[in-house]
């Protein structure tokens, strides 16, 4: 079963999601950007990752109040140290999952 009105919504969602992904790649990559733009863009990944991560760790799942007393935050500390020491992405994922599983099983 498929409904035309839902298909239109999905097509619209697809378009407005694709355009912001596509536009900078096609139009910025061929240009020599000014140095200050490159320097500014260079700081953005650290900012994005931190903005994705920290609210997830210190606020409740509904993202509407602070929640420091939760396993995702405690597990993040040893996971962070492991990542800092080993610089291993795969290892960090495995260690983080194992610790989280352990903490959840105990709690």
């Amino acid at each position: 079963m498929i409904r035309p009105e839902i298909v239109w919504i999905i097509l619209g969602m697809g378009l407005v999601t694709y355009l912001p992904r596509w536009f900078p790649l096609v139009f910025l990559s061929r240009r020599n950007l000014p140095v200050w733009v490159v320097e500014w863009l260079d700081l953005i990944p650290a900012a994005i990752l931190s903005a994705l991560l920290l609210p997830e760790l210190v606020t409740s799942d509904t993202h509407r109040h602070m929640a420091l007393w939760q396993p995702k935050l405690w597990v993040a500390i040893p996971t962070f140290i492991f990542a800092l020491k080993t610089k291993s992405l795969g290892g960090t994922v495995i260690v983080g999952m194992a610790l989280f599983w352990l903490v959840q099983s105990i709690a």
Binding site: M1, I2, R3, E5, V7, W8, I9, I10, L11, G12, M13, G14, V16, T17, Y18, P20, R21, W22, F23, P24, L25, V26, L28, S29, E39, W40, L41, D42, L43, I44, P45, A46, A47, I48, L49, S50, A51, L52, L53, L54, P55, E56, L57, R64, K72, A76, T79, A83, K87, S88, L89, G90, T92, V93, G96, M97, A98, L99, F100, L102
Partner: protein, 237 residues
């Protein structure tokens, strides 16, 4: 003489597909439970399997798909759903801009194909490798499309059978969080990057508490680098 096509294929497998898969697996591991959860929720919200599949193929942006499904089940119309999707996914504009710096010599066709797969996760993995100078667009494409395939398949399976799968088996809910922790560490290449991350994290937490939706991500990701850039230029001499 060796068949030129099959030796080309072998070379592709060695130079692009295997490194791409090696880089993509942590993303895939994280996408499975989220994709399953999305499938289950979408089905409960009244979407048909083919609609769920279509949404995962055409939109391919986790959080906005969850939001769209909850809006649809609350009776929202097309325009609010599409505008919200746009707002939630506008952050990819910044990610694609950062990636564009490395892709000057690529064809428009390949870039258009690559753009489709830019997500928080694939961006973080590909950006890290590009900035270490040992990555190319073909390998990045393998990462994006492997992640996409995992996302589509798991949301389809979720739509059919999600209720049978135990939540948080093996701590799999934590896969993406752990991945972001490690990728953030890769980005902390000097004190200005650390300051940017700290400011962005604090701004994001505060904004996430006071404004609805997920616009805090894009706001923090613009505010923090701008502040640090200003400090760098005019503050610390």
């Amino acid at each position: 003489m060796a068949d030129p096509v099959s030796s080309q294929n072998k070379r592709d497998i060695k130079t692009s597909i295997l490194p791409g898969l090696a880089a993509a697996w942590p993303i895939c591991l994280g996408y499975v439970p989220i994709g399953l959860a999305f499938g289950v929720l979408a089905q409960k919200a009244g979407l048909y399997s083919i609609e769920i599949t279509m949404m995962s193929i055409l939109v391919f942006a986790g959080s906005s798909q969850f939001i769209a499904v909850s809006m649809l089940s609350a009776g929202a119309g097309a325009v609010p759903v599409i505008i919200t999707t746009f707002a939630v996914n506008l952050r990819h504009l910044l990610m694609s801009s950062s990636l564009a710096v490395f892709l000057g010599d690529s064809t428009r066709k390949k870039l258009s194909l690559f753009a489709y797969g830019v997500t928080d996760e694939s961006f973080a993995v590909n950006y890290t490798r590009f900035s270490q100078k040992n990555w190319n667009l073909s390998q990045a494409l393998v990462v994006n499309h492997t992640a996409n395939l995992t996302w589509v398949i798991s949301s389809v399976i979720g739509g059919y059978s999600g209720r049978f799968i135990h939540e948080n088996a093996f701590g799999i809910d934590y896969a993406l969080t752990a991945m972001f922790i490690c990728l953030l560490i890769f980005q902390l290449k000097g004190r200005f990057y650390v300051i940017t991350a700290v400011i962005s994290g604090i701004v994001a937490v505060i904004l996430s508490l006071i404004i609805p939706g997920s616009s805090y991500i894009i706001l923090a990701s613009v505010i923090a680098p701008t502040m640090v850039f200003a400090i760098k230029k005019w503050g610390l001499r």
